[in-house]
């Protein structure tokens, strides 16, 4: 029997791939205070699912396209005097609502929308696995390639300019990486949980990090631990897999915060 024939092994590898790609990206999301940005674009992904089904194209392509458009609109509008949180609030909820309405028009398609909201990691096939690891490789490659430039831009846009780095280009690279993670992860953890897998491992890694590199590496470890641990616990106690993964990540965060608070006082 081939190793990949086991649905548990496929689920574990899928979770691992998403967690490893999301963790370093999540660090930038935390550093740049974009947590709600990830959340809002993930919501917009539902509209991408609906459009993909209506146009009979790949769901991943639909999600990727809609997330990129949504992220670009938000970035564009913030320079025109709207507050970021207001825009994200408008976009997140209206895109989700439009997506849900659009899906209801598709009378000839019966889909389980819950699967896209909460994900279904146990139903991951070999092709999905290839997509996830392909996406993870793209995201990690992008972030690794632009690491110094992204960090400089995150610290200060003017510093970046003075060093010959275009902050808008680095922002675009982050947006693309975010869109790719959402597009490949939507099936595994679902839109509602993607933002937490981005943010929670990074936040949990913070108290133990003295450099950005260390924080990214630790976040990857915590993300991987959450994915594998969550899968194991969900299997043991027959709980929903995606939420269980996030619960494990949240436990790591709580533990890290307590240890961090105790050690910084000592």
């Amino acid at each position: 029997m081939n190793l990949f024939d086991s649905f548990l092994v496929r689920a574990a590898l899928a979770g691992l791939g998403v967690a490893l790609a999301a963790a370093p990206l999540g660090c930038f999301v935390v550093w740049r205070r974009m947590a709600y940005f990830g959340d809002a674009t993930a919501h917009a992904a539902i509209l991408g699912v609906a459009l993909a089904l209506a146009l009979n194209i790949s769901i991943m392509v639909g999600v990727l396209a809609v997330v990129l458009v949504a992220a670009t609109i938000v970035s564009g509008l913030t320079t025109r005097g709207y507050a970021m949180d207001t825009l994200l609030g408008v976009m997140a909820h209206s895109a989700l609502a439009i997506g849900l309405v659009a899906v209801s028009f598709l009378t000839n398609v019966r889909i389980d929308l819950m699967a896209y909201l909460f994900g279904d990691i146990l139903a991951v096939g070999k092709v999905d696995l290839a997509v996830i690891w392909g996406g993870a490789a793209i995201v990690l490659g992008l972030i690794g390639w632009r690491w110094s430039a992204l960090l400089t831009t995150t610290l200060n846009a003017e510093l970046a300019h003075a060093s010959g780095i275009d902050p808008r280009r680095e922002q675009l690279i982050l947006t693309i990486a975010l869109a790719v993670v959402i597009a490949v992860a939507i099936k595994v953890v679902g839109v509602l949980l993607i933002a937490s897998l981005l943010v929670i491992p990074a936040a949990a890694a913070r108290p133990f990090s003295s450099t950005p590199e260390r924080m990214a590496a630790l976040a990857m470890g915590i993300g991987a631990l959450s994915a594998l641990g969550g899968l194991y616990l969900a299997f043991q106690f027959d709980t929903p897999t995606g939420p269980t993964i996030v619960c494990v990540a949240a436990t790591c965060f709580t533990f890290a915060s307590i240890v961090g608070a105790v050690t910084s006082k000592a």
Binding site: V30, W31, R32, R33, G81, S148, A149, L151, T152, T154, L155, N156, A157, E158, L159, A160, H161, A162, S163, I165, A203, R206, S209, S210, T211, P212, R214, M215
Partner: protein, 254 residues
Amino acid sequence: MPVRHHMTPLVEAKHLSVAMNGNEVLHGVDLRLEPSEIVTVVGPNGSGKSTLLRSIIGAVPLSHGSIRLKPGLRIGYVPQKLHIDPTLPITVARFLSLPKSASDQDTNAALERAGVRDLKNRQMARLSGGQFQRVLLARALLSNPELLILDEATQGLDQAGSAAFYAQIEDIRTELGCAVLMVSHELHVVMAASDRVICLNGHVCCEGAPEHVASAPEYRALFGSGTQGALALYRHEHNHSHDHEHSHEHEAAE
């Protein structure tokens, strides 16, 4: 002393205009920077001082005019303020290695020159205001700059701290021979350390040697007379002799 008119200028701006949100922040500014001279830009809030600096490093697009930099010009830039989010862990040494990694030796030399050699392994988020500005200065020195640009680098420092900071800038100019272009509110402190002062209020009101500018009627109209100029800055006359209808509508744009 700076050498004038013999070398190619480091920066040459002609009829420079910058518009932000429909307001013209700068209009028709001419600026020429020679190697190793210290030039200070003074002007009231919203007069476009920071915008002028940011246009030189290419951070804001021009609406008119041109800026020519000497080919391959190495610029060290010290920003006005830099907030490092406490969620981002970064040591001073790591910060100095961004975006290009710096050798241990260069890092130590830059920190030493900026007067903060003991801070290497400290977290950026835990530095005091004065330490932070000096680390920013060290970072700007790492590129071995021909031009050092400082945007109100002493904001938040007390007067003694600012004076010490500017004394260090003068030493650095003497040591490295780099030109310095800076913006400041602390006129009397800065003017003593400057070869040339440019008084800006959307356009160049007057410029020249510090003594010349301090006694110029345009400068007095903006800042009042005498060394109380720094105080006058905050309650400057809105109907000074160079009044332009759009001079005071862009306080937020800076």
